[in-house]
């Protein structure tokens, strides 16, 4: 054991090294988020953070809970596959607090034209018209109920009232 006679400085150095390693582990424990590595090389809690973001569009299921009368008309018409907020805009706030958040009626002049203006680029079987020629400036809802747009369906006058 003669060779260990002068090895004390090596053990002191090894002790320092072990101490530094422990300090590293402690610092690492505090700096690295708890959920890092839960599912992979990323912070697992980020998934929950993103899933908790607020909604802007309530979804048509929420609308139909209260507006079942309009939902019935809508389900029978040609627009059955067009969801409520596609025209009425994001209304999750209204769904959460119907009394204080009241939606504004969409402008049919812009809204109807966006989809139904005739263009060679649109699918041939999609109903499209030259707006100026078709209506001559008369508002769309005079003849068409947006919830059931085929003329001769429900009367167009209920559309403005019904959409409130």
């Amino acid at each position: 054991m003669n060779f260990l006679k002068d090895a004390g400085h090596l053990f002191r150095f090894a002790g320092l090294f072990v101490l530094a390693f422990l300090v590293f582990l402690v610092v690492r424990g505090y700096v690295v988020p708890k959920s890092f590595g839960e599912y992979g090389h990323y912070r697992g809690a980020a998934i929950t953070d993103i899933a908790a973001l607020p909604l802007k569009f309530a979804g048509h299921q929420a609308c139909e809970q209260c507006h079942s009368d309009i939902a019935d008309t809508h389900a029978k018409g040609k627009h059955a596959h067009v969801n409520c907020e596609a025209c009425h805009g994001p209304l999750a706030n209204h769904a959460n607090d119907p009394a204080s958040v009241t939606p504004t009626l969409p402008d049919t002049a812009v809204l109807c034209a966006r989809c139904h203006t005739a263009s060679a680029a649109k699918p041939k079987d999609f109903p499209q018209v030259d707006i100026a020629e078709h209506s001559g400036g008369v508002p769309c809802q005079t003849c068409h109920n947006p919830h059931d747009p085929m003329p001769g369906g429900d009367s167009a006058t209920t559309a403005a009232g019904g959409a409130k």
Binding site: I50, A52, A86, R114
Partner: protein
């Protein structure tokens, strides 16, 4: 047992490390959404798209996407009979307010909505140096914006151009497939607001999802299949000129 001051000081950091491990194992509060039961994607039915821009507006409203940046956008292709390989592509303001009226002429027109392809083998997540972007266990490519440095490696790596650096937050931003909606049983904002059903959220792990029947009977493609990204946005009836 007597503990000397010296031994106590040695044991202290070890105890701290042990306690940290205990904390790390505490499971988070689990809602009734099980990540391992889903594998999300999207179906784009090209013949149904009318280029109204509803999806782009809905996405910007739902996700506070800054003006001039897009998590989804719509392109209009015009392919001439005499030049199939160089289509003319326009996307004015991402197609947000629709497209100019096209006159009938030679060649064909069609719309191609684009968004993050939520690749199963995504090039963007592989290049992140800090683990800020990742594929969630249910197949959605997400960005941890508290971790992102804004180095933009991922923006360069995405072969589909679906990422951008947020002008105010200075971190990477992209489509989350409306993760905050689909985990609550809703569909994405773009699919919810598509008037023709051209965009549909699909869950490949759900055996009752109509996508399985659709894939059997339709000619469906992904974008840039040669890059082997495992893209999960499927395009029905996609023209060969689309890049």
């Amino acid at each position: 047992m007597s503990l000397s001051r010296r031994h106590f000081l040695i044991l202290l950091p070890a105890a701290a490390v042990a306690w940290d491990f205990v904390l790390a194992q505490t499971p988070e509060a689990a809602p009734n959404y099980n990540k391992s039961d889903h594998w999300w994607g999207m179906l784009i039915d090209i013949p149904k798209c009318i280029g109204c821009g509803n999806c782009v507006r809905a996405c910007q409203a739902e996700n506070n996407v800054p003006d001039g940046y897009f998590r989804t956008w719509v392109e209009r292709y015009h392919v001439d009979d005499w030049n199939m390989t160089t289509p003319q592509v326009i996307s004015p303001d991402g197609g947000k307010e629709g497209f100019p009226v096209a006159k009938e002429d030679a060649g064909k027109y069609f719309f191609v909505p684009k968004l993050c392809n939520h690749c199963a083998d995504s090039p963007c997540t592989q290049v992140c140096p800090v683990g800020a972007t990742f594929i969630s266990p249910d197949g959605v490519v997400l960005v941890d914006q508290t971790y992102c440095l804004g180095c933009a490696y991922c923006v360069q790596a995405c072969p589909y151009g679906c990422r951008y650096i947020h002008p105010q937050k200075h971190v990477a931003d992209k489509c989350t497939l409306c993760y905050h909606r689909i985990t609550k049983g809703l569909t994405t904002a773009c699919a919810e607001n598509c008037p023709t059903g051209a965009r549909q959220l699909i869950d490949l792990k759900n055996p009752n999802d109509p996508i399985h029947a659709f894939l059997k009977t339709h000619s469906v493609q992904v974008l840039k299949p040669q890059m082997a990204t495992g893209a999960k946005v499927f395009y029905n009836d996609l023209d060969g000129s689309v890049r």
